[in-house]
């Protein structure tokens, strides 16, 4: 018998971070597949480029800080996919590369890598693009149309206004509600299909990959507030168009629940969701950009640790 040196814990559950990352990737992959149905192979090409770019950035970072293995944890793949799915299908490749580099280097590596980033890398990258290149970010092609896969020549592509653009202008979007729900309207690549996103939410919640309380609190608060303060026509039309437009639902499922930037406690998570919903409502109403959810998300990320600290001290106060 040979004795091996060890330290606590002597047994563990065997679950790894990779498993939850894989589940996220499966869900993001499904949304990508759905988008391919509308836009053809161009979105797949964008996604592959984005993933490769993010992994390369991660590799460079791990070389720089001499920490092997950070490129293996798949978190960069998740970030890469989220970035691609939040951009329109017509977005130029160089913009995706800039977003990837910004997300990995500035939003993640600078703070110490996975788990130490205070802000969601994808949200930071998107905020950067929104500020610098709003022309590309909010220019959505009409659906369905097959886009050229590699070519940057998009002169034949027709563009349309998104639902949120109509709502922001104070009008009712001239689309059928079913089209809005299934994403058959001009919108970002992965954010269209409400049904698919809700299915992803249920799957990830059941598998305990994401914190269901955050998403539920966020969506409920958002729904109540937008029904009480309608911007476009009757309250239920306004509620529906606000809820299923922009990348609200996508962000609620995949970005708001990012484990490393959201509160860990149950109560903290609920408060976080409520605060985030209020911020989004305010930003959509008074912000200058068509969709300013990423800014709201960054602001709420900043208060997440404070919320946890506040919750931790509740028993002390009695």
């Amino acid at each position: 018998m040979k004795i091996i040196k060890t330290s606590a814990p002597y047994i563990n559950s065997g679950k790894s971070s990779n498993a939850s990352m894989k589940r996220m990737i499966v869900c993001l992959g499904l949304t990508l597949l759905y988008a391919m149905f509308f836009f053809g192979l161009r979105v797949l090409f964008n996604a592959v480029v984005s993933v490769l770019a993010c992994e390369l950035c991660e590799l460079i970072v791990s070389r720089m800080v001499r920490l092997p293995g950070t490129a293996k944890d798949l978190s960069a793949v998740v970030t890469a996919l989220i970035i691609v799915l939040l951009l329109p299908a017509t977005v130029p490749i160089w913009l995706i590369l800039i977003a990837d580099a910004f997300a990995i280097f500035i939003a993640k590596a600078v703070f110490g890598g996975l788990g130490h980033n205070p802000f969601n890398p994808a949200a930071v990258a998107l905020a950067f693009l929104t500020v610098c290149w709003p022309r590309y970010i909010f220019q959505y092609p009409t659906v369905p149309q097959t886009l050229p896969i590699f070519s940057g020549d998009l002169s034949n592509v027709t563009y349309g206004f998104s639902v949120l653009a109509y709502v922001n202008a104070g009008g009712v979007a001239p689309y059928r509600l079913a089209d809005i729900f299934f994403g058959a309207v001009p919108t970002a690549v992965g954010t269209g299909c409400g049904l698919l996103l809700l299915a992803c939410f249920i799957y990830l919640s059941v598998k305990r990959t994401i914190h269901w309380r955050i998403t539920t609190a966020f969506l409920l608060t958002f729904a109540i507030l937008s029904a009480l303060l309608p911007r476009a026509g009757v309250w239920y039309i306004s509620l529906f168009s606000e809820l299923f437009s922009g990348y609200l639902l996508f962000a609620a499922v995949f970005m708001l629940t990012d484990p490393s930037t959201s509160p860990k406690s149950d109560i903290g998570g609920i408060i976080y969701g409520v605060i985030c919903a209020i911020t989004v409502i305010l930003m959509r109403r008074y912000g200058i950009y068509e969709e300013s959810l990423c800014f709201a998300l960054i602001i709420c990320n900043a208060i997440a640790p404070t919320l946890d600290r506040w919750v931790a001290r509740i028993p002390e106060r009695g």
Binding site: M1, K2, I3, I4, K5, T6, S7, A8, P9, Y10, I11, N12, S13, K15, S16, S17, A19, S20, D73, S75, L114, G115, R208, H211, P259, S260, T261, K264, S265, D308, R309, A312, R313, P315, E316
Partner: protein
């Protein structure tokens, strides 16, 4: 069935087969090392012969009498760093048949009550305290129910529940005697049971209360019933009835020998002081490399020293598959530890602050409420060990409390705080004016 809290972790228990098997006996050891605490007074000179069941040392501080588990010669007294007991002395005894003088003091039941003095040889295997002391405390605290505790909720470990399963009537009788001694009316027997997948369901006597649910089940249950129920171990009850019936003191204890690398896992009754190496050999380990753990797999301690002696309260000797642990810096904040923590703490924050030496932050996050169950380290998806950091912060804070009670911990203040006591530099500037 009593309810327990919803948080915690589901653990494969892996002990049904050990529980139902009869307890094996192992007493072929030629060299015993009986652990005693530093303050204990040894009654024999080195080199003198001792008989089995002879009083060899008195630990007056803890109120425990130590009896010789074998007939033999007291060879030496050596210092030892026991993984579970900490620093202690060892009485090294060499077993020799010639010195066999069986002392049989028959206690006379029925002629008046048993006194506390007569049971000072029995140590409660739950916490290593003297049974007599515990019973005295219970009767002083006005406890209404005395319970035999066999709630062992960690995988493999079933030394108490094994004794209960094998000698239920004796344990119950011992419990009744203890209750009579402490003047407590009601008695109850508790066992933890959770059926593994594919294993047959065990039947316990209807008089036994079965505690079930997620790990940790024992600590919350005991904490909840602290004021009403006094818990003593099932083994102590068994030892008590043995003392009353045969006059034999607590000379042996039951240890579970199990783990991934033990081919014949079982409960073994061994004389106190038997080295764990012999115990492992008795249960036939396989030849693959393994980690030796004494105590439970979640709260036990790792040891490399196979001469570590068995003492009452060890519970188990396990040969486990070694797992690799990564550095705490790799925490990616999944929050799994927060979801399972039975006390509702946030282990990841406490471990992070502890790693950076921020004790006041650890205290803010309630580190002193940690029950040391090890759930956070078990579930960690990053393969880290947050519990070790939490424990170090807890111990530092505790020692801070005891040594420097007047001096407060350095407070965490906002940089723009206007409190003058927090910003001594400002005060100095004022003096200069």
């Amino acid at each position: 069935m009593p309810d327990i809290r919803g948080r915690g972790i589901v653990l494969r228990q892996r002990k049904n087969s050990i529980l139902t098997a009869p307890i094996k006996e192992y007493s072929d050891c030629k060299q015993l090392s009986v652990p005693i605490s530093y303050g204990a007074k040894v009654l024999f000179a080195i080199g003198s012969a001792v008989a089995r069941n002879d009083l060899i040392a008195v630990d007056s501080a803890a109120g425990i009498n130590i009896y010789s588990p074998c007939a033999g010669v007291l060879e030496s007294i050596t210092a030892c760093d026991h993984p579970l007991l900490g620093k202690c002395d060892l009485l090294n005894l060499t077993v020799s048949e010639s010195a066999e003088i069986e002392k049989n003091i028959q206690l006379k039941l029925g002629e008046g009550k048993l006194s506390y003095q007569e049971i000072t040889g029995i140590v409660d295997t739950l916490d290593g305290k003297s049974l007599a002391h515990k019973l005295k405390e219970f009767s002083a605290d006005g406890i209404t129910t005395l319970a035999a505790d066999a709630i062992q909720d960690q995988p493999f470990v079933c030394s108490e529940s094994g004794v209960l399963y094998n000698h239920y009537t004796l344990v119950e009788e011992g419990l009744k005697i203890a209750a009579e001694l402490a003047g407590i009316q009601r008695t109850e027997v508790f066992v933890y049971y959770r059926r593994d997948r594919g294993e047959p369901e065990l039947k316990f006597d209807s008089r036994i209360t079965v505690v079930c649910g997620k790990y940790p089940a024992r600590y919350p249950y005991i904490a909840k019933n602290k004021k009403k129920i006094g818990f003593i171990s099932a083994q102590a009850c068994f030892d008590l009835i043995k003392l009353v019936r045969t006059g034999e003191q607590q000379l042996t204890t039951v240890v579970t020998v199990a783990g991934h690398h033990i081919t014949k896992p079982s409960n073994v009754r061994v004389p106190i002081g038997t080295p764990i190496g012999e115990l492992i050999d008795f249960c036939e380990p396989d030849n693959s490399p393994a980690a030796v753990i004494v105590g439970g797999p979640l709260t036990g301690k790792y040891t490399e020293d196979l001469t570590t002696p068995v003492y009452p309260g060890m519970g188990a000797v396990l040969l486990l598959e070694p797992i690799s642990i990564r550095e705490m810096a790799n925490c990616w904040g999944c929050g799994e530890c927060v979801r399972c923590c039975p006390e509702g703490l946030m282990p990841l924050y406490i471990a992070r602050f502890s790693r950076h030496g921020k004790l006041s932050d650890c205290r803010d996050f309630g580190v002193l409420r940690c029950i040391e169950c090890g759930c956070c380290s078990y579930v960690c998806t990053g393969g880290l060990d947050p519990m070790s950091f939490i424990l170090s912060a807890k111990n530092q804070l505790k020692s801070y409390r005891t040594t420097q009670q007047k001096q407060e911990l350095p407070q965490r203040r906002h940089p723009l705080s206007s409190n003058p006591s927090a910003t001594p530099e400002l005060k100095k500037g004022g003096d200069r004016k």
